[in-house]
Symmetry: C2
């Protein structure tokens, strides 16, 4: 296992333990919503967003207990969005990471409420003193997260994904969709590490630019994996974009063009981190990881 | 029109204007989610929760632009919960305040996302400097709202409402359901006025106790209106609790017993405000209003 792989795995374990503590099991109907929240939030994927936040915070010597808390908040937002996206009224996905999605394991009402509760708890965590002693920092985290997740961010991107005539999209159109739907949360993740580290404006701006490049590369690789990836490794069916005749980076640029663009973006993302020198190793590793990932 | 009626109407107008500004119309798919948010949040009811917040803040000479902002946040939470509750997967209500519910006017996916976006924007408003210059105050507002709205508050109450064997509930059971489902947000509303007014702990505790009594009285009157109210004035069908054989305060206490209990709670709520003297006129008026309301 490479140094980067063991580092992202170590972070994912810290996040898993913290999420488990944030969602203690209960009895009765309240236990049902908590169980559904746990189903949607635990045992989850790479934890890329918390990794970006924690690795970015590490550069400013933020105590891990603080950055892991903020990482849990961003992961709760990510997981709530997956729970709601999987609903029959939205993408109607029965499977998520090879397991039944929350509405299949429970029911639609429980999935809606579990998503609502995760979204709400993310802000409870950010607003709590344990996340940072300086209330200005906590408010900025909450404000930036709300902007990234709301109608002018992730939710807006989801609306475009559902309602826009995507097959007619040009490159600018899919870049805008990506910037909102997946980019805004990835951008927040890296930027929030700077905020919680009380970094200067220029450092935070560099993190924002890094994560904008990274987010776009992430989406291009996603399109490549959907076109050419391995369904088993991915834990979901492939070829869905082509079946739906969606405009994707692969369709518009070709496989080679899309791969070149992702490669250039990853190089650009890493260049944004020059000011941080060797401190930025983990974030540079994340950029390489996003490019090379197979799931 | 009584002095109280003109006061609650005046506050509702301020909230309406502010909500309209928070939700500027847009073009395209983003415009669709904003239009659905506007459908669910504008032209809405009595605005009791913002009234409680603003009237409570008035006692501490909070500038109205701040208390109206916080009032909009609590109203966005209230409206998101109605949008999600009305969904086919939940209460399946086609009508809300005599108009099509959001998923009927748009569709289920749009209603889910509009609710998510309102929930998110509530925290964006509370975390913004314009709501209060002191970040400690903003964080406390966000923290208390998240607690009131989340899995140990409103969302938890909604789960109990859907999944518990309500017909078997005793008085303690329905009081617990009420405390979570409707009580927690009403409690937050009055308490938040003290928080934003940087009131002392004892003042805030008095506001919390006032609103706990008020919230319970509100629910008992709701049950009475469902049993004996006028469908036209209410803008919704009556007799639903009896049809579903739900345990209600009316069923457990009889009409007279329920009305007596509500009357005692209103008197108790007003007594909690003694320490504030004449400053508490509006909040006392709200308690009388909750008891006497016909819709």
């Amino acid at each position: 296992m490479s140094g980067f792989e063991s580092r992202i795995r170590e972070t994912a374990e810290l996040v898993e333990i913290a999420l488990d503590r944030f969602l203690p099991q209960r009895e009765g109907p309240l236990g049902r919503v908590v169980a559904a929240m746990r189903h949607g939030a635990l045992d989850g994927g790479k934890r890329l967003r918390p990794f970006l936040l924690i690795a970015s915070a590490d550069m400013f010597d933020v105590p891990r207990d603080r950055s892991v808390r903020a990482g849990c908040a961003i992961e709760m937002i990510h997981c709530y969005s997956l729970i709601h996206d999987d609903l029959p009224a939205m993408d109607d996905s029965d499977l998520r990471r090879g397991r039944p999605s929350v509405h299949k394991a429970y029911d639609d009402a429980t999935a809606i409420l579990a998503g609502d509760a995760l979204l709400t708890q993310a802000f409870e965590i950010l607003a709590s003193k344990e996340t940072h002693p300086n209330a200005e920092v906590r408010c900025r985290l909450a404000l930036e997260l709300a902007r990234a997740a709301g109608k002018n961010g992730m939710v807006g991107g989801q609306m475009i994904d559902i309602y826009a005539e995507q097959k007619a999209f040009d490159l600018a159109g899919i870049e805008e969709l990506q910037r909102l739907k997946t980019g805004a949360l990835i951008r927040f993740s890296a930027l929030a590490g700077g905020v919680i580290g009380e970094a200067g404006d220029e450092d935070i701006a560099a993190l924002a630019r890094y994560s904008e490049d990274l987010g776009l590369a992430f989406q291009i690789v996603d399109d490549l994996l959907d076109a050419f990836g391995d369904a088993e490794a991915l834990g979901k069916p492939v070829g869905q974009d082509a079946d739906m005749d969606k405009a994707t980076f692969v369709k518009l640029l070709g496989a080679g063009g899309a791969r070149d663009k992702a490669r250039r973006l990853v190089a650009s993302a890493k260049a944004r981190l020059e000011r941080f020198g060797a401190r930025a190793e983990a974030l540079k590793g994340a950029a390489d990881f996003v490019f090379a990932r197979e799931k």
